[in-house]
Symmetry: C2
Subunit: 201 residues, 2 copies
């Protein structure tokens, strides 16, 4: 009996050791139900055989202090084997800048990166939606202030899109817009992304 319990404990430990750690990045931390969203995403990670790491898990320790939150996030990223990034546009046509920072941090650490988003539109289309139709000049698209709009058929700024591609991962886009806005949690794309990561990493 004691031996059997020991064996079970070892089995659990091995299972736990074998689970890859996934850093969950995205503007989810700003949602009204940020803690619940993180909890559910971590549960889904568990169902797919991963361990989810979520910024707000460290909330008790960081006490809302920006310096401590920053360092806690970096420490969490350093533990991660994989990065999963919610790239759904946030307060503008692009990815949240904190999430963009984390893409680079984990890219520099050589980890496989995956993106997911609840909009299927390319960056050029989203800039058009937000600021009106661009001008076309010399093969380039220009916004109303004359600034060029990257038109590489990419999801976002090429530093984000290409880092994810070069890391071996990809970006999963599933349209989850309802009548008034896209879903910021991007649940369908998140699960499809976990499915993809499980098959590749």
């Amino acid at each position: 009996m004691a031996r059997s319990r020991l064996a079970q404990a070892r089995q659990r430990e091995n299972k736990s050791m074998a689970r890859k750690k996934v850093y969950l990045a995205g503007p989810d931390v700003f949602l009204p139900d940020a803690v619940a969203v993180g909890h559910k995403k971590k549960q889904l990670c568990d169902e797919y055989g991963f361990e989810g790491l979520y910024s707000l898990d460290k909330d008790g320790e960081t006490q809302g202090d920006p310096a401590q939150i920053f360092r806690a996030n970096c420490a969490l990223m350093q533990q991660a084997d994989i990065g999963l990034f919610n790239l759904t546009p946030f307060r503008g046509p692009s990815t949240d800048v904190g999430t963009a920072f984390e893409v680079a941090f984990l890219f520099a650490a050589g980890k496989p990166l995956y993106g997911y988003t609840s909009t299927t539109a390319d960056y050029l289309d989203r800039v058009t939606q937000a600021f009106g139709p661009p001008r076309h000049s010399d093969g380039r698209y220009l916004d109303s202030s004359g600034c060029s709009i990257e038109n590489c058929n990419l999801y976002d700024n090429l530093m984000i899109s290409r880092a994810i591609a070069d890391s071996g991962g990809s970006i999963v886009r599933i349209d989850e817009s309802d009548t008034d806005r896209v879903s910021l949690a991007a649940w369908k794309a998140f699960q499809a992304c976990l499915e993809l990561a499980r098959s590749q990493v």
Copy 2:
């Protein structure tokens, strides 16, 4: 005479070897006069005793291919001793996401980082300007969709602001707004930032 020329050449070489390389990041690459802006910023780097590295310098080699541009930018950053980031808001209340990526890439490489911007407003003020006054609830500020707005008296998302602070650098803000919009090149803040970097690095 020959010896004197050799001595001069050596002096030039030593001076060149001693110059620290500054990676110039920012949405400047999207400006209508992106090449000229980069040229002038590199000249200013030279005047302050630095060598400026600018993404568009590699334009001839990368041929507009996103994968090549991404790798060329990463290679340029790997050569840099210091990062200088134009954090002036771009297509929304935040820093350009490509620039946010580069903050993290150079932070991960342990380089000193400096930011500069042509607006003095904090992130909370810029979100208010862009999307209207926030609601105040339980000590937090919420936007119209109920998402929380970071209110740490920081310039941008704490991952950006704190990375720069933790690297030993800081963010120089000088108001350069004219009647209709802020200056995206942020010339005054750029020069003040070079001055600061020269005194500290």
